[in-house]
Symmetry: C2
Subunit: 413 residues, 2 copies
């Protein structure tokens, strides 16, 4: 079953290379390739240079043999897209949504968007799967959100069963930061090369996605990377929305930035923030980043402080995890370079020297697009995984649309 | 190539089960099994119940077709052993050694011990590989120690090349805590079941081994888990042997325990420690654990404090990594239950509730034996890994002793 995945991973590969790479016999490889061609999954792509005898045929995945839907649900907006089997997005829609409206409303709109996109394609191939990122913890095996703090009504909701029932396709659901990390590692060559990386999202919440050897590390409850509520000395007795005190998020998250910004504005510490407060009667983290981008020193200092606080925790995590790359994403980090510079300073100052020898700390190369890309690859990684594919493509019978009863856990009832 | 690994992982499996598990054709499985039998690697092991036709033969790895050497080098002692291909230790020796004597002295003694053990076996099968754990960071790809603080003379030393040259077998070298973690996950059923775990060693140094989905996560420089030198607020400006200030190890490691014990003894805070100090003129962490085991309240309080400090850092790492199991090992943790109780209290109080929902925190089930076990499995995991095996066992040619030129990186010159 590894043949299709090998062809997918190295487009333009040949029979002899597959034999060498996979350690399978020549006859076995030929039989498998013939079956994949008969099933419409693999096509010839010219000839490779000969190394003696006949020139070997180049092989590639027929990327348009199937479709994959990606769904990136955020706190206040969502993106839905369709991609081919190589992960290239063919069509996408973005619209505002309040995740707190609950799964019925939100998934109803997801379903309509997927249907609209499918209707736009002239002759859509079968839908191979749906990948969904949501802004909260998810038990990956069951695809159910677990006590997500900003998603009332979603706790334990059967997202997989609902979407799989509607579209007769397998469904995978994951936390949004894991999906961002996956998108980065599949579509950003520097991230792919690093192999071991941390994606750190600093927005309203603060969370991390862990990648080990190119695979997302989710932990036993699917909540690995939940660093917003670790204790930091600087937070002392500051209360957090989680009910605890002293959390990183309580002093470095978006709400903390808004709170400090209001204090600054009211005390005359920042003309730019005072102006924004007067104009709208309230302040958000976005006002801080906007003021910083216009050069307001107090707003820049606020962002730098948040960066140092996150960097202090990251220093511990870098010593612990030894990643090759830390990717910073989220609304707060893209305002000038204050956050990036402060995070770098803290990490390089305090992490073990050996752990930072090869470490790069960069802003996300993909930005928000990583969410949709990651959701698409959540499906592609799973459907091309050897064991699962073996059940989907019983050799000898034509394939095409995979059996919805397969997937990482039982599909729809 | 997955056939041998499948037979190894599930002793007593049958042809039909291999066909089902691996998604290979019946003919392919039969051919491979026949070749493995011809090569002396697989043997029949009785018959399984019939499900209609002929009773299928049970298959198992011929565990005595090869030998594996495990070497567990600590700061002051080392264990060397030989195991069969199932990982069962056949013979082992332990002796005192000072790792600071340098690689020539220490590896010279390793070589002699391996040769002595080989000489004890009547007709030793070929040596398939050597696994080595050392008390310092190792670049896993090259098997070379990297700036190990307590191993003068070892920085960049070609351990692989030296031992591979002597024994004509591939060699893998890893940090001792990674090796302990691997031993635990391969030989402790609870650890194997957890899949994602942290092994935390509290001794002279403090370090962690990370396991993700049953595989050791080493990080890009092989220094993942180096948590002894992360900053903790309680350490304030306390100097650490690493040259930095405020490190966890500086307040919770063995040297810190000895320092605090001396202070207590000199100030009359602990009769037991004062007695030990008078008897020997100095105190070590072992004196603290001995006093605690005899019920000395001050010594017990010292251990509990060390446990709370380690637990405070672990609380962050548990939220970040979401392991199913934290295993505590090392000299300091096995003295009564003070350390275990204090670590548990800190982690359960401060980690994200979801991250501790399924978390167990236990003392190592294997104790010191995990080092040798892990070193043996460092080899077995590698030699049975599918891709590598494909190169070692060109189908159709008899196998036996694997080609030493193979391995995760080039073998001996």
């Amino acid at each position: 079953m590894a043949v299709l995945d090998a062809i997918r991973s190295r487009p333009g590969t040949t029979h002899p290379r597959l034999v060498q790479q996979l350690g399978l016999g020549r006859t076995v490889v030929s039989q498998r390739v013939a079956r994949l061609e008969a099933a419409g999954l693999v096509a010839q792509d010219g000839l490779a240079p000969s190394s003696g005898g006949r020139s070997p045929r180049r092989l590639r995945l027929r990327r348009n043999a199937g479709l994959v839907a990606g769904v990136d649900i955020g706190a206040t907006g969502m993106t839905v897209g369709l991609a081919d089997l190589s992960g290239s997005v063919l069509a996408a829609s973005r619209e505002a949504v309040d995740v707190a409206d609950g799964p019925d409303v939100v998934l109803g709109r997801v379903e309509r968007l997927v249907e609209d996109l499918l209707a736009r394609l002239p002759a859509p191939p079968p839908l191979w799967g749906i990948g969904v990122g949501v802004p909260g913890p998810v038990e990956f095996a069951t695809s159910r959100p677990v006590a997500p703090p900003i998603m009332p009504g979603w706790d334990g909701y059967p997202v997989r069963e609902r979407l799989a029932g509607r579209f007769a396709a397998p469904v995978w659901v994951d936390n949004d930061v894991n999906v961002l990390a996956l998108g980065e590692v599949r579509a950003n060559p520097a991230a792919a090369e690093a192999g071991d990386l941390l994606y750190v999202k600093i927005g309203t919440g603060i969370g991390a996605g862990l990648v080990s050897g190119g695979r997302v590390h989710r932990g036993v409850n699917g909540c690995a990377g939940d660093i917003g509520h670790v204790a930091v000395a600087e937070a002392g007795a500051v209360s957090c929305r989680c009910g605890n005190v002293g959390c990183l998020e309580a002093v470095a998250g978006g709400a903390a930035l808004a709170r400090e910004a209001r204090r600054l504005a009211e005390r005359g510490g920042s003309p730019a923030l005072a102006e924004a407060l007067a104009a709208r009667g309230g302040l958000t983290a976005a006002d801080v980043t906007a003021a910083a981008e216009r050069g307001d020193p107090a707003a820049r200092a606020l962002l730098a402080r948040a960066g140092r606080l996150v960097g202090g925790t990251l220093a511990t995590l870098v010593s612990f995890y030894n990643p090759g790359l830390v990717v910073l994403g989220g609304g707060v980090v893209h305002a000038g370079d204050q956050v990036l510079a402060a995070v770098r300073e803290s990490v390089y100052r305090r992490s073990l020297p050996l752990a930072t020898r090869m470490l790069r700390i960069e802003l996300s190369a993909l930005g928000e697009a990583a969410g949709l890309t990651g959701a698409v690859h959540l499906v592609l990684d799973s459907v091309f995984e050897a064991e699962r594919l073996a059940r989907w493509l019983p050799w000898g019978s034509p394939a095409g649309h995979p059996d919805v009863a397969c997937g990482p856990a039982p599909g729809p009832a």
